[in-house]
Symmetry: C2
C-alpha cells in the first residue's frame, strides 16, 4: 500500500514514461496523460523500449514483472478523465513556464480538491507556478533523475506555502516507489544535485577553456584525488553535450557562454554528443 | 636510475618528510634540510612514525624496505652543505612568500648552477617566486598531496620562463618516484585538484549555510547522483576543518567568510576537527 493510491503522470516523454513505469512497477495503477493520439502512440513505444532497457539493466528474471507493470499504465488524452480520481498528479511536461502554468490552471478545475500536485521541473521553481494551481498548500516539486530504477534520488522541494503534512506524504511516497528521498528545507534552483554539479562542471570547463589542462588530465586528477569513478568530462559525456550546451548557453556568465561555444565548435557540430552518440570527450564501445 | 640522482628536500615538516621518504623509497639518496637541531630531531621522530604509518597502510612485508629507505635520508642544518651536490632541490618550507623568497635567494648562491629548484607550495604561484631563484628557467612547482605513497598525484606547473626540457625532466622524475604526474600547461592558482575542489566544497557549504539541506543529505545526494564514495562534507572531514577554516577565512568572498565562522562556531571550537580528531561532520571509529 503506497501513500497515494491513484497517481496520474502528465507528459509521457522520456522522464514522464520512466516515472509512470517506476510507480507501476511498485504495484500502483497509473494514468499517463499526453496531448494527442500521436503522443500516446509514441509513449506506448517508449514504454516497450523501457521494459527492454530495464530488463537489460536489472536482469531477464524481472521481465514478466516489468511487463505486468507496463500493463498497469492507462493512457489518456482527456485531462479531466486522466485526473478524475487522482490522489497525486506528477507533472512532467516540457520546461516552459507558460505551458506549465496553463496546464495547472486546467488541473485546478479538473482534479478533485484533495489531489496533490507535484512538478518534476528541473529548472523552474515551484513558487513560480504555485498561484496557477489553485492549491499552493498541496503543491510542491518532486524531481526525478534519469534511469529512475537505479536506486536513484527523488528531490522534494516545497514553497513556503506547501503544507508540511503534504510534504511528508510525498517524501513517504518517494520511498514507497523505491526512490531515495532528498528533502530540501527551502527552494533552491538546481535542487541539491545540480547545485553541486553545475559549479563543479564549470570549474572543469574553465581549466580546459583557459588551456591549463586537457580533459583527460583533469578527470584523472579528480579520480585519484577523491576516489570518485568519474571526473567532470566523464560526467559531461553522461549528461550529454547538448544538454550541457543548452544550460551553458542560457547562462548570464560569459565563461559559461564561451563553454557553450566551445562545445558546439569542437563536439556537437561533429556529432559528438557524449555517451548517447558513442563519442564525446571520450569514445564509447 | 631516476632522472635526478641527488635530491635535497628543504623543510622536514609533514609533507617535507613524506616527500623525502617517497624519494628514498624509490632508491634515491636524499638530503633533508631544516633550520636547526630541534627541527631535525622532530624530523627524525616524524620519519619513524612515517615508517609505521606506511607499513600500516601497505603491509608489514614492506617494513624492512621502508627502514632501508629511511636510512637513505641524511639530515642537514647547513643549507650550503645540504645542496652542494644537488641535481634537484624540492622546497617544502612554510607557505610564506617572504620566507620562500629568502630561502631561494640563499639557494641561488649555495646550489650548483645546474640544480633544478621545485616548490611544493599549494597557494603561491611560482611566478611570485621565480626572480628570487636566479634561475627562472630551472624553476617550477612540483606539488604533492598528503599520503604520497597511495598512488597519488604530483602536479607540475611552470612559469612562462621555465625551460620545457626542465619541465619534462621533472614530469619524468615524478613518475620515477611512483607518482601520477599531472602536467599543467599554464599557471593556475590551486593547480587542477583544488581548482575543482574549492568551488565544489563551496557549493556544498552554501547549501548548508542557507539551510537548504543538512550535510548528510547533501553527501548522500552526491554519492547516489555521481557514484562517488564521498560527498563534500566527507571530504571536508578528510581535509580537516582547521585547514578548511583557514582557506575560507582568507577569502574575499563574504559567503566563504560566513562558512569560516560557521566551522569555528559549530565544530572547531568544540574540538571537532574532522577525521584527525575523531569527529567533524561525522564521527569516526
Amino acid at each position: 500500500m503506497t501513500t497515494f493510491s491513484n497517481v496520474t503522470v502528465l507528459g509521457a516523454g522520456v522522464l514522464g514514461a520512466q516515472i509512470a513505469f517506476q510507480i507501476a512497477n511498485h504495484g500502483v495503477a497509473v494514468n499517463s496523460y499526453d496531448v494527442d493520439d500521436d503522443a500516446i502512440a509514441a509513449a506506448r513505444g517508449r514504454l516497450t523500449s523501457l521494459v527492454e532497457q530495464y530488463t537489460g539493466d536489472v536482469g531477464e528474471a524481472h521481465r514478466a514483472a516489468a511487463q505486468t507493470a507496463a500493463g498497469r499504465i492507462s493512457f489518456f488524452t482527456d485531462l479531466a478523465a486522466a485526473v478524475a480520481d487522482a490522489d497525486l498528479v506528477i507533472e512532467a511536461v516540457p520546461e516552459n513556464l507558460e505551458l506549465k502554468r496553463d496546464i495547472y490552471a486546467r488541473l485546478a478545475v479538473a482534479a478533485p480538491p484533495h489531489t496533490v500536485f507535484a512538478t518534476n521541473s528541473s529548472t523552474l521553481l515551484p513558487s513560480q507556478i504555485m498561484d496557477s494551481t489553485g492549491r499552493p498548500d498541496r503543491f510542491l516539486a518532486l524531481h526525478f533523475a534519469n534511469h529512475i530504477w537505479r536506486q536513484n534520488t527523488a528531490e522534494i522541494m516545497g514553497t513556503d506555502q506547501t503544507s508540511p503534512e503534504v510534504f511528508q506524504r510525498v517524501v513517504a511516497f518517494a520511498e514507497d516507489i523505491g526512490m531515495v528521498p532528498i528533502p530540501l528545507h527551502k527552494e533552491q534552483p538546481g535542487y541539491v544535485l545540480n547545485s553541486l554539479l553545475v559549479p563543479f562542471l564549470a570549474a572543469g570547463a574553465g581549466l580546459v577553456l583557459t588551456g591549463v589542462a586537457d580533459p583527460e588530465t583533469v578527470d584523472k586528477t579528480w579520480r585519484i584525488g577523491t576516489g570518485a569513478p568519474a571526473g567532470p568530462f566523464q560526467i559531461f559525456d553522461v549528461v550529454g553535450l547538448r544538454t550541457a550546451h543548452a544550460i551553458s548557453a542560457a547562462s548570464d556568465d560569459p565563461g559559461s557562454r564561451m563553454w557553450a561555444d566551445y562545445l558546439e565548435a569542437n563536439y556537437i557540430s561533429q556529432g559528438k554528443l557524449g555517451v548517447e552518440s558513442g563519442e564525446g570527450f571520450y569514445k564509447y564501445r
